[in-house]
């Protein structure tokens, strides 16, 4: 049974998506339970995959029974397994959360939403599990295309934001494909494990260098690394709140995973670090991304827009961590991929609650939150503390590893940026706390009017509170049990050669 899990985890959501699309016209109510079932199956199988990987080492699945260099191979090691759990856990929680929020924001298009949402999760899971570079491209486009469509469902401005995302995203995907083509010319193989064996002899070939550069550039665009991030804030701000909660944290993190895979599994670490010195560029672009993201986040009035810029900064953490390229920083980077996805989802859930209750997502809408919505406020506090990096939450530990790694590699610019960003984050969330805790007099500006027109009125419905609350719990637990996560799982996820 465990042998078949890599196929089950992908086929279940794919089939469910199609079923929902075709039955949805008649049986609208069926969509939600079907989604929950599919997501639960994914989560269960990813948990079994992880335990299988921890106990027995790598798991291999040959699609159609074709042996590796020719057929598509799914290969799961610790790194994949962590990503699978992350994606399917957040997929399940977001699906639970999305029901009420979608019924309010997109009342007529719920069926399409569910169908596309599951397709998005399918694509992301597929990217994390596949061992074939071209298959990765196809799944990347499955995820991206459903992401474009989901984002376009949002507010009025979402259409143009999604259009820009499509154009830039397609350039990124084309670059990636071009890079894979160069590798194929030189080696005649698309399988990651096979390439890893073939490439060391060819490392000085110009074709390989060009291919590597194109792949990395394509991933950077998809991942929104600092100079290439322009599509991100608009797209994630105007998307429906449930979509932001699903796309924003996961898409960029999964791309970060692909980057680690390509740099350190397909290519040898010595190649990426010694021969090309690409890691130096990554540290610096990470540093700039952190500073830029933090400063831009500080100047926003819109909560979701602020979160989007925080994502830009967090991507900087991860890229910097990969660029520092020693074992500790890489542990930090992988741990931060996990943590950051959870923290951002948690905060986007809070944005969803606020949106559901007040109809807006500006920081002004948080007015008096601690009085009227105490549970949401508590969840928000956990998320904010995690982003800032306060000890019991998991955000602290990944930042700690990143800092240690930076100090060990003597990348002082990166270390300084990390610390400055932490300070800015304190200021950032203090603004929201300030709005939430104290109700100022109505002197400053016109009162925010919106489509429902009601002020903060009580808590969000239970289906929205439970996923957010459990995620907040997971954030704290991941912090408390960080030793187990890092030593028993992540230290095996670090590629060979460190």
């Amino acid at each position: 049974m465990v042998q078949q899990l890599p196929a089950i985890i992908l086929v279940t959501p794919l089939v469910t998506s199609i079923i929902i699309f075709f039955t949805g016209w008649r049986y609208k109510r069926l969509a939600y339970p079907l989604t929950l079932i599919a997501m639960s199956v994914c989560l269960l199988s990813s948990v079994f995959i992880l335990t299988g990987v921890i106990n027995n080492g790598q798991l291999q699945y040959l699609l159609g029974g074709w042996p590796p260099p020719w057929g598509i191979e799914y290969r799961v090691d610790h790194l994949n397994a962590i990503m699978l759990i992350l994606v399917s856990l957040l997929g399940l929680l977001t699906a639970t959360h999305a029901k009420k929020s979608i019924e309010q924001e997109l009342p007529e298009r719920t069926t399409l939403f569910w169908s596309l949402f599951i397709l998005l999760i399918t694509g992301l899971l597929g990217i994390c599990i596949t061992g074939d570079l071209f298959n990765l491209f196809v799944l990347l486009e499955v995820a991206s295309l459903s992401g474009y469509a989901l984002i376009a469902m949002g507010e009025k401005k979402a259409l143009y934001a999604s259009f820009r995302y499509i154009i830039i995203g397609t350039i990124g995907a084309s670059f990636y494909l071009l890079g894979v083509g160069h590798l194929y010319i030189a080696t005649g193989s698309l399988n990651m494990a096979d390439l890893a064996q073939l490439l060391p002899e060819l490392l000085h070939s110009k074709t390989i260098l060009v291919g590597f550069a194109f792949i990395l550039l394509g991933l950077c665009i998809k991942m929104a690394i600092f100079p290439m991030h322009v599509w991100l804030p608009d797209a994630y701000t105007y998307a429906p709140s449930a979509v932001s909660a699903a796309v924003a944290p996961l898409m960029t993190k999964v791309m970060a995973y692909v980057m680690i895979r390509v740099m350190f599994t397909v290519f040898q670490p010595e190649f990426s670090i010694m021969l090309l010195r690409v890691t130096d560029i990554m540290v610096w672009s990470g540093t700039f991304a952190i500073l830029f993201g933090a400063v831009m986040a500080l100047s926003q009035n819109d909560f979701k827009r602020m979160l989007s810029y925080i994502i830009v900064a967090e991507i900087g953490y991860i890229i910097g961590g990969i660029g520092v390229a020693n074992a500790i920083a890489l542990k930090g980077a992988i741990f931060h991929i996990v943590n950051d996805a959870m923290m951002m989802t948690c905060l986007f859930f809070v944005a969803g609650h606020i949106m559901h209750q007040t109809g807006g997502h500006r920081i002004d809408d948080f007015k008096g939150m601690f009085k009227t919505m105490p549970v949401t406020a508590a969840i928000f506090t956990v998320g904010a503390l995690a982003i800032i990096g306060v000890p019991p939450t998991c955000g602290f530990f990944s930042k700690w590893y990143l800092l240690l790694g930076g100090i060990k590699a003597q990348q002082w610019g990166f270390v300084a940026a990390l610390l400055i960003c932490t300070l800015i984050n304190v200021a950032l969330f203090f603004r929201v706390f300030d709005k939430g805790l104290f109700i100022h007099t109505h002197g400053n500006g016109p009162a925010h009017t919106d489509f429902t027109g009601k002020p903060l009125a009580g808590e969000a419905p239970l289906t929205m509170l439970i996923p957010a609350f459990s995620l907040a719990l997971v954030i704290i637990l991941a912090g408390v049990f960080n030793q187990f996560i890092v030593n028993d799982v992540i230290s095996f996820a670090i590629p060979l050669g460190f």
Binding site: F134, F137, V138, E141, L145, Y148, A149, A152, K156, K157, L159, Y160, S162, F163, I166, I167, T170, I171, A173, S174, L177, L178, G181, Y184, I185
Partner: protein, 131 residues
């Protein structure tokens, strides 16, 4: 001059894909009309597809079908050099599907943008969105 010509002619497929790709990039970056941007995007994708298709070709090779393959018993003695490589072509079938899907989503968005704002010019759109 002769050397340059040889380089140009010997790698003509690469030059074509580079030129096409640059045309696509130019369209995306410079043109203000969303429709023209979509056309540029499509040219860019086509360039990559042509690149893949061209790398499967070999001189003096034929289509990858083995004549009388399964009953003569000669199937094991096939010379790979006599047949073009079919794999890049098959990959591109998938990539074409992806490209068509992307084009479809982009066009649908363009229609919706036009319905909402009554324009497809980017500068006018940005003006409207600022308000």
């Amino acid at each position: 001059m002769d050397e340059l010509l040889t380089i140009l002619i010997a790698r003509i497929n690469y030059w074509v894909y580079i030129i096409l790709m640059m045309i696509g990039m130019y369209g995306i970056i410079v043109k203000k009309n969303l429709m023209k941007k979509i056309i540029g995007m499509s040219i860019l994708q086509t360039a990559v597809i042509l690149f893949y298709v061209s790398i499967g070709a070999k001189k003096n090779a034929t289509i990858p079908i083995i004549e009388h393959g399964h009953d003569t018993g000669h199937a094991t003695a096939v010379q790979a050099a006599h047949f073009i490589n079919p794999l890049p072509h098959v990959l591109m079938l998938t990539a074409i599907v992806v490209a068509v899907a992307t084009l479809g989503v982009a066009l649908a968005l363009a229609i919706k943008i036009y319905k909402q704002y009554n324009t497809l010019e980017e500068d006018e759109l940005i003006e409207i969105l600022k308000e």
